[in-house]
């Protein structure tokens, strides 16, 4: 990032902070009209600096390595595919994966914000799945909070010298689960329980989402591993350019 870009991110962050001090940084697709207008604006404002940082990060990656645009398109396409597949789960209800772990590992967490919001807008407008008013909250949980956790876990596993595929698996699946944790908190902030407040109601939402999402998170971890294995075999040059593979591993 150059000086001017840094300034933009700082200003945007300050903007978000002034608007978003109250809600703690913590919720997947909340349906259209289910959050009070004030919450919608707050979550939207919080997303802005992340999206700007994401745009700049993508621009930087592409200017350094033009070829990585194909991998970026594939990471975005992966989110498109898995978030359209509603999978039956052990609790007798269906849910879908987020697919954001792959992009976070390959391009860093902020870049995924941009990829995620494209999918969310598509679903909100055409499918009445999620919503335009809840776009900010959904973007924050699926395209920002989840990827950041994925990226953190991936880096941590690298430091601890955990097997690479195990690290990728954990990063993708925990990021997926975390997305639903954040969704629960977002809903709880809007609908605190009369007896136990926000915490009690967050636990209630989590109790609905978590058991459904757990098996899906495992599937997501597996699929992310499979995609990375394919890329390692066929797109070595691009992965080396992104710093995922090292030259000597050739």
């Amino acid at each position: 990032m150059n000086q001017r870009e840094k300034k933009i991110v700082t200003i945007a962050s300050a903007f978000a902070l002034t608007f978003g001090i109250a809600p703690a940084a913590n919720a997947m697709h909340i349906m259209e009209g289910y959050l009070p207008p004030m919450h919608c604006i707050l979550w939207g404002a919080i997303c802005v600096p992340f999206l700007i940082a994401g745009y700049l990060s993508i621009k930087k990656t592409l200017s350094e390595n033009r070829k990585s645009i194909t991998i970026l398109a594939m990471a975005g396409a992966f989110i498109f595919v898995v978030s359209s597949l509603k999978v039956p789960s052990v609790t007798g209800s269906c849910s879908h994966m987020t697919g954001t772990g792959l992009g976070a590992i390959l391009f860093g967490p902020s870049a995924v914000g941009i990829l995620g919001i494209i999918v969310l807008i598509f679903q909100a407008i055409l499918l009445a799945h999620g919503g335009l008013t809840t776009l900010g909250a959904n973007t924050f949980s699926m395209a920002i909070a989840g990827p950041f956790v994925s990226f953190g876990i991936y880096k941590l596993c690298q430091k601890l010298k955990v097997n690479k595929y195990v690290g990728i698996f954990l990063a993708a699946s925990v990021g997926d689960l975390f997305t639903y944790c954040v969704t629960s908190v977002e809903l709880a902030l809007a609908y605190p329980s009369q007896t136990g407040g926000v915490a009690a109601s967050a636990l209630k939402f989590l109790a609905v989402f978590a058991p459904t999402q757990l098996p899906l998170a495992i599937i997501e971890g597996i699929l992310t591993d499979v995609i990375i294995m394919c890329l390692e075999t066929y797109a070595k040059t691009e992965l080396i350019g992104l710093g995922i593979l090292k030259e000597e591993e050739n």
């Binding site: 009445a128 109601s201 066929y234």
Partner: protein, 108 residues
Amino acid sequence: MGDKKKTIIILLVIAALIAVIPLFTLRGAEFGGSDDAGSEEISKITGTEYKPWFTPVMETWIGGELPGEVESLLFCVQTGIGVGILAFYLGRFVERSKHETTEKKTGA
């Protein structure tokens, strides 16, 4: 290479099993969306049926709820776009690496 192929196939089978087994073990379950389960939970907490204050734009445009079949069509379009891009680039990568290996052979 052979090992990797095996691992990938085994992993994909496991993923497919995790997705399909609930269908067989939970006979008669409804398999509604967990997003809907969330809105039920909201009704429980607030005690009243919650009325969303904003209807999805698509429903406003067509003046009603999106028909189930059309919804599945749009979901398939989404999957199709994604798979198309993934398959196109992966195919290119595969062909390229084939090309590279044959070039190396002929060069050496």
